[in-house]
Symmetry: C2
Subunit: 226 residues, 2 copies
């Protein structure tokens, strides 16, 4: 779906937008900070024009705020924002799980379980980054099986906002194991074609994800060290 179109030369402003997104998600550009157009353009070796176009796009996506005549600032995501976003995510993802339970064929389930296996492996190796990636892949595949492209699109947009919040990098305490267990339960529900259970389990999964994030927010900031 998000395969880089081979015949798409891909515009410069998109390239720049993607790089900025990554830097924002990596919190290299931290929320609240000012984005210096000149130095960034210089750093990328481009003029300000495509950079500014990229910033307009990011603003439309909600990642940054463009204050007229005052510059560009990386957005903050408040706890109430997260509450609202997770509520919507819960709704959408659980629906996706329901649909997936109805639509999944053998190949779909196999693919999903393959991803889940990667997830288990990453968890065992305690490789947070790989776990994070595989987790995204799992949910993306589930959306894919559900078959509603616009639902996927909306979920992706919301996920960006969650990635904006710091804390995302860390699944503290026993969150990894809990998450795995929840995924297993979801896959089991898909296997038995129990749409209702799949939806309910996904709702709970998203809910416990929110709870984990909340615990992180409560803690004093001690991220960084492994």
């Amino acid at each position: 779906m998000n395969a880089p179109n081979p015949i798409a030369p891909l515009a410069l402003y998109q390239e720049v937008a993607e790089r900025l997104r990554q830097r924002i998600f990596a919190h290299e550009l931290t929320p609240g900070t000012w984005v210096d157009e000149q130095s960034l353009a210089e750093e990328y070796g481009i003029s300000r024009t495509p950079l500014r176009e990229a910033l307009k796009v990011l603003a439309a996506e909600g990642l940054v705020t463009l204050k007229p005549r005052r510059g560009c600032y990386v957005n903050q995501v408040s706890e109430t924002d997260l509450d609202e976003i997770f509520d919507v995510m819960s709704l959408l993802e659980s629906e996706a799980a329901r649909l997936a339970a109805q639509h999944a064929n053998a190949a779909d389930l196999a693919a999903l379980e393959a991803i889940h296996a990667q997830l288990e492996a990453a968890a065992q190796a305690r490789d947070i980054n790989r776990f994070f990636e595989a987790n995204q892949a799992f949910h993306r595949k589930l959306q894919d099986i559900a078959g509603n492209g616009w639902l996927t699109h909306v979920v992706d947009d919301l996920r960006k906002m969650i990635k904006l919040s710091r804390h995302h990098s860390l699944f503290g305490d026993g969150r990894l194991e809990q998450s795995l267990e929840e995924h297993r339960a979801i896959v089991a529900a898909l296997r038995t074609r129990d749409a209702e259970a799949a939806g309910r389990l996904m709702r709970e999964h998203i809910g416990s994800g929110r709870a984990a994030l909340q615990r992180m927010a409560a803690k004093p900031v001690s991220h960084a060290a492994a």
Copy 2:
């Protein structure tokens, strides 16, 4: 929420984006057509720079497609797109209705009924445009009562896509009356604080909206005349 910030001088590219949106929604720029940057810039009396920035934003919103080195084209929305979008809308709006039923206070209900009164008036006058506006206001107010800003945001985005499809201008046959009746039922459910009923009724309301649009799509194109 969308109140034009009085201290926001509002950038030119935003102004342009808004005008283009209106022209797209009014189908003055019809789906599939090429957007000529030069003539548009000339028409607005501006340079291509802010215009191009606006187009980037519209592209991010999904209203147009930017084919690199090939120009900008107004997007088409297929029937399957509409199916998917309406499914998601149904999910979100019904949730909003549920939430609204729980959160609404007397003032909220009064405001909602005031809007509904405008809706009735517009219907009686058979003023399609005013009906359309009031209808939007009704749903927006309901979102407002629900209190989840991000849910509102997502719904707004999706509504743009629906507005992209032609047909929207028309509530054929007895659709106006049917829509009014459905709204009345929803308001009644809010009054009795019956969240489940509100959700169910909204789901049905969105569903019949989709059905009406489908009937339009089936008809040969005879829009335009009043």
